[in-house]
């Protein structure tokens, strides 16, 4: 797996590279600015890019803009965006280009190395991952105004969150200590309550969930 890291903080950039190299992953380039990052993507043709949201010059959403641009230049590129805080607007911008091979994660998750590596592999394999915090925020925001969401049972809400993290049925079952069949039943119930097309494919599920949570019910 060839990886490019875009992060303006030198310590964090080197820390990430060190962590990934220690896991025998191939970090082919690191970049401190969006410009360097795009140049590295062109030059090294990586499989995965790990991108910080806030980068120079304005330290707002340069990372998201650069990630979207990198995807445009190299459609097969998997992108994992790291953010210091939850901002669902960033997630919405990012996932506007489709959900295949995209992830949006809080920076502190990197410290849980095993889980972080699992997420990285999931995104590299074309999966989608959204940080549970983002999902929780979206749920909290929409629950007050949305009757369909408030009809979900607590367990179903939990399952919805894990779906957004990109977990498949068996992984969800493992996390919640229930059987696959029970998970399947929950998901069917969620989809019918939210009036989403039933679909078992993980990425499409994430897209559907996101689309629903953003209030865009096409």
């Amino acid at each position: 797996m060839r990886i490019v890291i875009a992060e303006d903080d030198p310590l964090l950039r080197e820390g990430l590279a060190l962590l990934l190299r220690a896991e025998d992953l191939d970090v082919v380039a690191t970049a401190a600015t969006p410009g360097e990052f795009l140049a590295a993507v062109d030059e090294h043709a990586p499989d995965v890019a790990i991108v910080d949201v806030r980068m120079p010059p304005t330290h707002t959403d340069e990372g998201i803009v650069a990630a979207v641009e990198a995807r445009r230049r190299r459609p097969g590129l998997a992108v994992l965006v790291l953010s210091a805080y939850v901002e669902q607007a960033f997630a919405t911008d990012l996932f506007s280009v489709g959900a295949v091979g995209l992830g949006y994660l809080l920076k502190e998750r990197v410290g849980r190395v095993e889980e972080f590596l699992a997420v990285l592999h999931r995104v590299a394999d074309g999966g989608s991952v959204i940080d549970p915090e983002v999902v929780a925020q979206l749920l909290a925001r929409n629950r007050r105004t949305d009757t369909a969401l408030s009809e979900l049972t607590p367990r179903e809400r939990e399952v919805l969150g894990l779906m957004a993290e990109g977990l498949g049925n068996s992984a969800i079952a493992e996390r919640l200590f229930v059987t696959d069949g029970a998970v399947h039943k929950h998901i069917r119930s969620i989809f019918s309550k939210l009036q989403l097309p039933p679909d078992d494919h993980a990425d499409r599920r994430v897209t559907a969930v996101l689309r629903y949570l953003n209030g865009d019910r096409r």
Partner: protein
């Protein structure tokens, strides 16, 4: 001794005011001449078109005098632009008073200014006369308004003695002259009663908005430094700890190395957190007052910094915090941008105002528009009804003066 020093400072200040007043008086004379020409041409009709221009010129000179007087004594608000249209302009209470002021001040301002300037020149010439009287022919007499013939050292010494007299006159009369010179402006330029209040309300509304703005800017600054500094460091600590835990099993030596890096990052986080916290409202301000707090700033400044604080009575906390902020930001700018080898900070309290000045010997050319901390300083100062002026010619030196009402 303190009395003498006070008198000396007062007369130096007075001289500064007299020279400044001479400048505005010259401008006033120009404006008066123009207004007179326009008035004469009005008699034949063609001058009417030039009236608004002339009134604007008078207003601009009057505003200059208002700003000058505000820097020195009680503030005089500026009324804004001259109203458009001849009729409204003629009814404007400011316009008539300003015309009166221009007529009066172009005479009195010039006379007091010239006398005030001539006195110290005479004093200097006469006091030093015994040193150079041989260089000029005896018939030429002494400089200034001395009328006797100079034949020898004793006459020259007499002239020198006269110079001491002039010097005494400078010390005693300069402040009086300066007050006399300012009097037409103090009398005619403030808004007439009634108008004052509405101006003040407009100004307060503007500064209140600026205060909220400054507040938001300040919050953004804190958020930015917390996020880009402290938070990133802690994330790095977290990442390194994660890596170390993985390495413990496979390669314990490597794990120790990574843990060392993590500790470095944690120390950096603490350092940055300290900086951020100190920038918000330094606890030292409460404990040791402005002088102590500024001494801490000057001591930790990377450029050698000389500090002079003369604040006998404490100001309102918010004003002190703002002054502290101004000095902190100012010194940061000096270190980052000026290339200076030393900085001078002076803070003193005068007539209910806190005066802060920061000067460096760097290469100058500081520009507020280029997004340095200067805009932040100006906003925060103006939010407290204060004033900030910056002079920074290319090649230096850079000097920033900030004036804050003490609020107590």
């Amino acid at each position: 001794m303190a009395y003498v020093r006070g008198r000396l400072r007062a007369s130096v200040d007075a001289l500064e005011h007299l020279v400044g007043g001479l400048g505005t008086a010259t401008l006033a004379l120009g404006a008066l001449l123009w207004a007179a020409i326009v008035a004469v041409t009005c008699l034949v009709g063609v001058g009417l078109l030039a009236v608004p221009g002339a009134l604007r010129a008078v207003r601009s000179v009057a505003d200059r005098e208002r700003t000058r007087l505000s820097r020195w004594g009680g503030p005089i608000p500026t009324p804004g632009p001259v109203p458009a249209g001849l009729r409204t302009a003629a009814r404007d209470p400011f316009v008539r008073r300003e015309l009166g002021w221009v007529a009066l001040y172009s005479l009195t301002g010039l006379v007091t200014g010239l006398v005030g300037l001539a006195l110290p020149i005479y004093a200097l010439q006469d006091v030093t006369f015994p040193l150079w009287y041989r260089l000029i022919p005896a018939d030429a007499g002494a400089p200034g308004i001395v009328w006797w013939r100079i034949d020898g050292l004793s006459e020259a010494l007499a002239v020198g003695l006269l110079g001491v007299g002039w010097l005494a006159a400078v010390i005693w009369f300069s402040p009086v002259l300066a007050r006399l010179q300012a009097w037409p402006g103090r009398w005619l330029l403030p808004p007439p009663p009634g108008v004052d209040l509405s101006l003040r309300v407009a100004e307060l509304t503007a500064t209140r908005a600026a205060a909220l703005d400054a507040h938001a800017v300040e919050l953004r600054r804190i958020e930015r430094s917390l996020h880009d500094g402290t938070q990133n460091r802690l994330v790095a600590v977290n990442v390194l700890l994660g890596a170390a835990r993985r390495a413990v099993r496979r390669n314990p030596d490597r794990a120790d190395e990574i843990l060392g890096q993590a500790q470095d990052a944690a120390e950096q986080a603490l350092g940055e957190l300290r900086t951020v916290v100190r920038g918000i409202l330094p606890p030292v301000l409460d404990d040791r007052g402005l002088a102590g707090a500024l001494a801490g700033l000057a001591g930790s400044c990377a450029v050698p910094c000389r500090l002079e604080v003369d604040v006998a009575v404490r100001c309102a906390v918010s004003v002190e915090a703002t002054a502290y902020f101004v000095v902190a930001e100012g010194l940061t700018n000096v270190v980052r941008h000026s290339g200076a080898s030393r900085a001078d900070v002076a803070v003193r309290r005068e007539r209910g105002r806190l005066l802060v000045s920061i000067e460096d010997d760097g290469h100058g050319d500081a520009d507020e528009a280029r997004g340095s901390g200067l805009t932040g300083i100006r906003r925060r100062v103006e939010a407290y009804d204060g004033r900030m002026t910056l002079t920074s010619p290319p090649g230096g030196p850079t000097r920033m003066d900030v004036e804050l009402p003490c609020g107590s």
